[in-house]
């Protein structure tokens, strides 16, 4: 069995004449947290949408290996809001459970408890804070018990407490629940604390893939490492 649960090889995607992804290959290990970093417009969201099948018309190969014990291989939090704003958290989860063929309301409660959302909150999602919305989206993604979670900038707009809670939740999902996570973020200091692998996406290409040992051995930190690729280092030094 391959050590990689998700592999994308030589992914290319164009929109008209504009090439968004030139030649992207990533390799996500079982049970790891793969961080993807890149500037705005580098193609992170496009790559995630290709991995989840939301986008067609690309070239390259995406391979997902999964065990039969999981009901769905991949689940994702990509777009926003991607929730039914007129419905409560429980109702959104209930709708999701119909989709997944889940009849047990206990699983809905469990997913909401995991992300620390109250089942009894009847407010529609449009009244939720950003942090609560992000947590509900994670709960929706967890409902199908996927092996792989793909999260596109989940910390965007969160306050410091929300960022810490998210980090703790991702660590829990990975280390306790055994989920493999593919996450993008601009908050490099947060990514640094959780990732086991890292991909740097620059101008539509993965310019470097780092394993956990590479990350540990690199003493300069993710920020300096990324800036070396993004613009050849610190402009002001």
């Amino acid at each position: 069995m391959s050590q990689y649960i998700l592999e994308a090889e030589h992914i290319q995607k164009k929109y008209g004449r504009q090439t968004v992804l030139r030649d992207v290959s990533i390799h996500v290990k079982h049970g790891g947290i793969y961080g993807l970093i890149g500037k705005n417009g580098s193609g992170k969201t496009t790559l995630f949408r290709i991995l989840t099948g939301l986008i067609q018309g690309y070239s390259g190969v995406v391979t997902v290996s999964h065990t039969d014990s999981h009901e769905s291989s991949i689940s994702a939090v990509i777009d926003s809001p991607s929730l039914f704003l007129n419905m409560s958290a429980f109702e959104n989860m209930k709708a999701q459970s119909f989709l997944l063929g889940i009849r047990d309301n206990g699983r809905i409660r469990q997913a909401l408890e995991t992300v620390r959302l109250s089942e009894s909150n009847k407010k529609p999602v449009r009244c939720y804070s950003l942090g609560m919305t992000q947590r509900l989206k994670l709960a929706m993604a967890l409902a199908g018990n996927p092996e792989i979670l793909i999260l596109d900038e989940p910390a965007n707009g969160l306050d410091p407490e929300g960022i810490v809670e998210l980090r703790e939740l991702l660590i829990y999902l990975n280390r306790t629940m055994g989920k493999t996570i593919l996450v993008s973020s601009h908050i490099l200091s947060e990514l640094e604390q959780i990732v086991t692998c890292l991909g740097i996406l620059h101008d539509g290409e993965i310019v470097r893939e780092l394993s956990d040992s590479d990350i540990l051995q690199n003493g300069t930190g993710l920020e300096k490492l990324y800036m070396e690729y993004a613009r050849g280092g610190n402009r002001y030094e």
């Binding site: 939301l54 990509i78 809001p81 929730l83 039914f84 989709l99 997944l100």
Partner: protein
């Protein structure tokens, strides 16, 4: 596909707009019937003969002619419910749950046709029950008319679904669906005028109009409906549903969700 239909049904059931539209349908049909029963004649000069009801038959015909009211409700309801998926980007849940684009589209098409027919039937049932003339109204001809009308409204729902699924902008799809309903008489007039060019053109134009949704409602509302006509209208409506669904499926497959 059952799971997608259950998901959509549950979501629709949580929509306030659905209950508003159903309530409006009941209130309007009941009010108009009561006005006729109480011999209240309400003529609004701006609308000319549209509101000059003479009897229950006129109320029944109003329900059949979708462009006179019910079609407007259906256009708004379906375009909003479907457009919200684009607006709130909730398609991804269905797709990531390994549901096919065909299944996603078919679920919406089935429910759209069902809801559209249901709104029409609710209107007719309320008119019938509140008319106090059930015995005289409930004839074979009336039943044939209602059955034909239900098929026609189902076809209307399928076409509105097609427009809503293919137009990603919610506002634009609402406007397009309303325009389709309210202005459907215009293309019929244009086709009719084209038919004046020659005898062949006249036959083709007449065929097109008779087999359009607008044409079918005009036929049902203007003359007694025989059982054979019911069958013809049902088949015609099913063909329209099939065509609009096939076209929608082919185009929706290429959409990025």
């Amino acid at each position: 596909m059952n799971n997608i239909i259950k998901n959509d049904l549950y979501r629709f059931s949580k929509s306030i707009l659905l209950y508003v539209i159903l309530s409006l349908t009941i209130v309007i049909s009941f009010s108009l019937t009561m006005m006729i029963r109480q011999d209240i004649r309400l003529g609004i000069s701006v609308f000319g003969n549209l509101t000059a009801f003479r009897g229950i038959d006129d109320i029944i015909r109003i329900g059949i002619l979708y462009q006179r009211g019910l079609g407007f409700f259906i256009a708004i309801l379906l375009s909003v419910l479907i457009g919200q998926e684009y607006q709130w980007k909730t398609w991804q849940h269905k797709w990531i749950a390994n549901k096919s684009r065909a299944g996603i589209y078919l679920s919406k098409a089935v429910l759209s046709s069902a809801i559209s027919a249901a709104v029409f039937l609710i209107f007719q049932i309320v008119v019938l029950l509140s008319s106090s003339q059930i015995g005289s109204i409930l004839t074979a001809g009336y039943a044939a008319m209602v059955i034909s009308g239900a098929f026609v409204y189902a076809a209307l729902g399928a076409v509105v679904c097609l427009l809503s699924m293919l137009i990603k902008n919610n506002i634009a799809s609402i406007i397009a669906c309303i325009c389709y309903v309210m202005l459907s008489e215009t293309p019929a007039s244009v086709i009719g005028n084209i038919g004046n060019l020659s005898e062949t053109a006249s036959k083709v134009a007449g065929w097109c109009i008779r087999h359009s949704i607008y044409g079918m409602t005009t036929i049902i509302s203007s003359a007694p409906v025989s059982p054979s006509l019911v069958v013809t209208i049902a088949i015609n409506a099913l063909i329209i549903i099939l065509l609009s669904t096939v076209i929608g499926l082919m185009l929706f497959r290429k959409y990025e969700l």
